[in-house]
């Protein structure tokens, strides 16, 4: 929202159009890390150096905290993403790391989460994770705990495994078999058990993996004949 207001005002004042950040560098400084949001302040610091990585005393201190604010709705003329790098002062960075350590979260994910909460009202990762039914969550934790041992048990008939809380219900060649076992044979409800593959996972099932879907920004709207022209 801040970005959008600034672009509108800038264009109106200078009677210009286009991408207001072109050739300029804008630094978003984090002012405060609160429990539920990050307050940010944006300042203009001059022309954008050719190598943005060289800029600023804290450049590279938190490279991963690059918030993509662009969208078709925010910058309709551009249709592309805008990367804004947020530089943290050492105090703020320490505050953020302490907060992440307190709640057992990865610092980058926490920063994303807090920023997202500041910028819009969509649910955060934590809020989505809180929607997991407790029975499924307990079963996910048991599955995650046992997964390293389970992997060696994998076979044609053991492709999937079901957990009801700490209890391993059994293995199956399809997930449907296990749903039948849990629901029809044991009378469990869907929110009381969890079924997953006997395959490695990078993250626990209740945590968020980062997915980069190239839609809709990379959607090519030309036809081959137009392309050739």
């Amino acid at each position: 929202v801040v970005a959008l207001l600034y672009v509108c005002r800038y264009r109106e004042h200078y009677h210009s159009s286009g991408y207001v950040w072109q050739g300029r560098k804008r630094v978003l400084a984090i002012q405060e890390v609160a429990d539920d949001r990050i307050s940010i302040h944006m300042t203009e610091v001059g022309r954008l150096p050719n190598n943005v990585a060289d800029y600023g005393p804290q450049a590279g201190a938190c490279d991963k905290l690059t918030e993509s604010c662009g969208s078709n709705r925010l910058l309709p003329e551009q249709g592309n993403e805008m990367a804004l790098t947020i530089y943290l002062s050492p105090e703020i960075e320490q505050q953020l790391r302490q907060r992440a350590a307190q709640i057992g979260r990865d610092v980058t994910t926490l920063a994303h989460d807090l920023l997202q909460r500041s910028l819009n009202k969509q649910p955060t990762l934590d809020e989505i994770a809180a929607q997991i039914p407790p029975g499924i969550r307990r079963s996910q934790e048991a599955y995650w705990r046992d997964l390293p041992q389970l992997l060696s048990l994998k076979s044609g008939k053991r492709q999937w495994v079901a957990y009801h809380g700490d209890e391993r219900v059994g293995f199956g060649s399809t997930s449907a078999e296990l749903f039948q076992e849990c629901m029809e044979s044991r009378g469990l409800k869907k929110e009381e058990f969890y079924v997953d593959r006997l395959e490695p996972r990078a993250l626990p099932p209740w945590e968020a993996e980062a997915i980069d879907a190239p839609f809709p920004w990379s959607e090519a709207t030309f036809t081959p004949s137009e392309n050739r022209a």
């Binding site: 997991i132 997930s175 749903f179 395959e199 980069d212 809709p216 004949s225």
Partner: protein, 175 residues
């Protein structure tokens, strides 16, 4: 080994897809497949499950994603009835993953919108489906996306024939 998509054609020009009362623009080189969304773990797809279009997007590294609006209007399903399995970060947006299976319809050879009389193929997705909430700042994809992970996770074999502009997909497991 069973065929799922049998030389399913895709176009090299934009076209419109008539679906319900809507005309949906389909861009060049979009691979349109037909799917149904079912409750997770069902052995058979409910007979009245609506068939909806989706884009087979091999550049997408998730299994299946759909807008809540499409799920409601097209499939008659509300996200609330599908259990939340966890969050996912798609294009840096936090989205919920819901428990559901995706059923992929088997086309007649070289025909995109007509189907064989055999039951659709159930794609078992360990992480469920991602649902874009309604009224999100970031627009959801115009059509649901069937990503590469769905093919990978179900050990399917996909062949894209650029000369004929067809896609074939088969199940590698013995029937």
């Amino acid at each position: 080994m069973s065929k799922i998509l049998d030389q399913l054609p895709y176009l090299d020009a934009a076209a419109m897809l008539a679906f319900h009362d809507e005309q949906i623009p389909v861009l060049a080189h979009h691979i349109i497949v037909w799917v149904s969304i079912g409750l997770r773990g069902d052995f058979r797809l409910a007979e009245n499950s609506p068939r909806i279009p989706a884009i087979l997007d091999t550049g997408n590294n998730f299994g299946f994603s759909i807008a809540a609006d499409q799920l409601g209007r097209w499939c008659g399903l509300q996200p609330q009835i599908l259990e939340v399995l966890g969050p996912i970060f798609i294009n840096r947006r936090a989205l919920p993953r819901h428990a559901a299976d995706v059923w992929l319809y088997r086309n007649r050879r070289r025909q995109r919108d007509t189907f064989r009389s055999v039951p659709p193929f159930r794609l078992e997705l360990r992480d469920g489906i991602a649902i874009y909430p309604a009224e999100d700042l970031v627009p959801a994809p115009r059509l649901p996306l069937l990503g590469l992970r769905a093919i990978d996770e179900n050990s399917l074999r996909c062949t894209i024939n650029g000369e004929q502009r067809t896609v074939s997909l088969s199940d590698t497991k013995p029937a």
